[in-house]
C-alpha cells in the first residue's frame, strides 16, 4: 500500500470560504463564516435546494476572493449528504466546471481536498476546487425523523451542521501560503456499531486507525502540529478516539481537537455531542482554520475527515455503520 502521500509540487489553497445556517452563526465560530442565513433557507423553497444554494454561494465567495472566474477552474470535486449527491450537482451546475461527485459521508471535505491536491500536484489540472456541504433539515428528513416530529435526542447524538465549505487549489503562487503537504487516504473500518445515534463511536476506530498509520509511517510526532483536528467525532467519539490511540501508545496532547466540538457552543446550544455532516469539517477548515493560518497563529495542522458510511435502508436492515477517515496535512510555507 502506498502509505502517506507527499505532495512535492506544493498544491496551494488559493482561497477558501464558508457558508452556514443559523445554529452555526450562533456557535463558537460564527464570525468565521463568509455568510450565514438566519432562516437556513438561503432564499429557496426547500431545504434540499437551500443546501445546493449554499454550495453555489461558497464556491462563488472563494472565486471572488481568489479573483478567479469559473473558467479558470479545471475541475470541481464536490459532495454532500443527500441522496445521489444532488446537493452538489444542482448547486454547481451553473458554473460549467468539469464535475466529480463524491460520497465520503462526513469525510467528504478531506476526500475532496486530497483528490484536488493530487490532480493539481501531478499537473493534470492547473486549478481545482473542492466543495462540500450538509444541511441539518435535509439530513434530518432523510436519515432520521420529520422536522416537526417530537422526539428526544439521546446524549450521544450529534447535530448535522447546516454549512458548506469551498476551497480552490492551484500550484503554489504564494497567495495564502497554505499548502497541502501530505495526505493519507483512509480504509473502511467496521467495528459493528449499529446505534444510529452514536455516530462518534462508529467513526472513532477509523480515525484512530488513520492517525496511528500516519504517525507510524511519517515519523512525525503529535506535538509537531499546532492543531490535529478530527472531522466530526463529537465529544463522545473524540474521547473514544483519544483512548484508542493511547491504548496503542500514542498520547495525544491539548492540540488534539474536533471540528464538531469547535463549531457549537456546547453550554448554550444543547446540541449534545456537537456537530457532524460534510459541512462541519468543511466550514470549520475553510473558515476558522484558514483564518488562523492567515493570522499566523498556526503553521502546521492535520485534518482527519471522518465519515459514517450507511444509508437509511442499511440501518433498517440492521447492518453495522462503518467508519472512514481521510487525513490531509496543511502547512504554511
Amino acid at each position: 500500500m502506498a502509505g502517506v502521500i507527499k505532495f512535492g509540487n506544493k498544491p496551494e489553497i488559493l482561497a477558501s470560504s464558508a457558508v452556514g445556517g443559523d445554529t452555526e452563526a450562533k456557535g463558537n465560530l460564527g464570525k468565521y463564516f463568509d455568510m450565514t442565513d438566519p432562516t437556513d433557507r438561503f432564499g429557496k423553497k426547500t431545504f434540499e435546494q437551500a443546501e445546493s444554494e449554499m454550495q453555489r454561494l461558497a464556491l462563488n465567495f472563494a472565486l471572488k476572493k481568489s479573483g478567479l472566474t469559473p473558467d479558470d477552474l479545471d475541475a470541481v470535486f464536490a459532495g454532500d449528504l443527500m441522496n445521489q449527491c444532488t446537493g452538489s450537482s444542482y448547486g454547481l451546475a451553473e458554473f460549467g466546471v468539469p464535475f466529480f461527485g463524491l460520497y465520503g459521508a462526513c469525510s467528504t471535505a478531506a476526500e475532496g481536498l486530497m483528490l484536488a491536491a493530487m490532480t493539481v500536484n501531478c499537473g493534470y489540472f492547473e486549478r481545482a476546487a473542492s466543495v462540500s456541504s450538509s444541511h441539518n433539515s435535509a439530513a434530518e428528513r432523510q436519515f432520521r425523523f420529520p422536522l416537526g416530529y417530537g422526539c428526544q435526542r439521546p446524549p450521544t447524538s450529534q447535530w448535522t451542521a447546516t454549512a458548506s465549505g469551498a476551497f480552490i487549489l492551484g500550484l503554489c503562487s504564494g497567495e495564502t501560503g497554505v499548502v497541502l503537504s501530505e495526505a493519507l487516504p483512509g480504509k473502511i473500518v467496521d467495528k459493528g456499531i449499529t446505534d444510529q445515534s452514536n455516530m462518534g463511536a462508529a467513526m472513532a476506530p477509523a480515525a484512530a486507525s488513520t492517525i496511528h498509520r500516519y504517525f507510524s509511517e511519517s515519523g512525525m510526532h503529535p506535538d509537531d502540529f499546532d492543531l490535529i483536528l478530527t472531522g466530526d467525532l463529537g465529544q463522545e467519539g473524540h474521547s473514544i478516539c483519544r483512548e484508542l490511540l493511547l491504548s496503542q501508545g500514542l498520547r495525544m496532547g491539548e492540540n488534539f481537537s474536533d471540528c464538531g466540538i469547535l463549531l457549537y457552543d456546547s453550554e448554550v446550544q444543547d446540541l449534545h455531542c456537537g456537530g457532524s455532516g460534510c459541512g462541519c469539517s468543511a466550514s470549520v477548515t475553510a473558515g476558522y482554520v484558514m483564518k488562523k493560518f492567515a493570522e499566523g497563529k498556526i503553521k502546521n495542522i492535520l485534518l482527519i475527515g471522518t465519515g459514517a458510511l450507511m444509508s437509511p435502508s442499511s440501518v433498517l436492515q440492521g447492518l453495522a455503520v462503518s467508519g472512514i477517515a481521510h487525513l490531509v496535512r496543511f502547512s504554511k510555507i
Binding site: 422526539c151 428526544q152 467495528k191 459493528g192 456499531i193
Partner: protein
C-alpha cells in the same frame, strides 16, 4: 485497536453518556400526566354542557389531536417534546404529531406522493398493527362467545 467488534461494542456502551433516566422519566410523567389531566377536565366540561357520556371521551381525543396539529404546524411540538420525551409521545397528541409532521415536511413532493404517502409514514404502522391485533382479538372474542364462555 485489537479489540474485537464485540469487545468494542461493550466498551462503547460503557463509555457512552447514559440517558438521564430519572430526570427524563419525571419530565415524561409530569407532562404526559398534565396532558391526560387536561383531557379529563375537558371531558367533565363536555359532559357538563350536555354531551353524551360515550361521545365525550372521543371528542376529548379529537380536541387534543387538533391542539397537537396546530402546535406541530407552528413548530412548537418538537420544542416541547425534546424535554417531554414519552410524555408527548404516548398521549394521542403524539400520534397526531406523527401524522402531521411528515405531511408538512413533504409537501414539496406533491399532494399525492408527498403529503398523501408520508402522512402515514409513522401513523401507518400504528393503524396497521392496531387493526391486526383487533382482528386477532375479534376472532378470540367470537370463538369464546360461540363456546358460551
Amino acid at each position: 485497536m485489537n479489540l474485537t467488534n464485540e469487545e468494542y461494542g461493550k466498551y462503547v456502551k460503557r463509555h457512552a453518556l447514559p440517558s438521564p433516566v430519572v430526570k427524563d422519566t419525571v419530565k415524561a410523567f409530569v407532562i404526559g400526566g398534565t396532558i391526560c389531566a387536561f383531557g379529563q377536565a375537558l371531558q367533565y366540561l363536555y359532559v357538563a354542557v350536555g354531551m353524551d357520556k360515550e361521545i365525550a371521551p372521543v371528542m376529548v381525543s379529537v380536541t387534543l389531536i387538533l391542539i397537537s396539529v396546530v402546535m406541530t404546524g407552528l413548530g412548537l411540538y418538537d420544542s416541547v417534546a425534546r424535554h417531554a420525551g414519552a410524555g408527548t409521545l404516548v398521549p394521542i397528541t403524539g400520534f397526531a404529531n406523527a401524522v402531521v409532521s411528515p405531511a408538512i415536511d413533504n409537501k414539496a413532493e406533491g399532494l399525492v406522493l408527498g403529503i398523501g404517502v408520508k402522512l402515514f409514514s409513522v401513523a401507518g404502522p400504528v393503524i396497521l398493527f392496531g387493526t391486526l391485533s383487533s382482528v386477532v382479538y375479534g376472532i378470540y372474542y367470537y370463538v369464546m362467545k360461540l363456546m358460551g364462555v
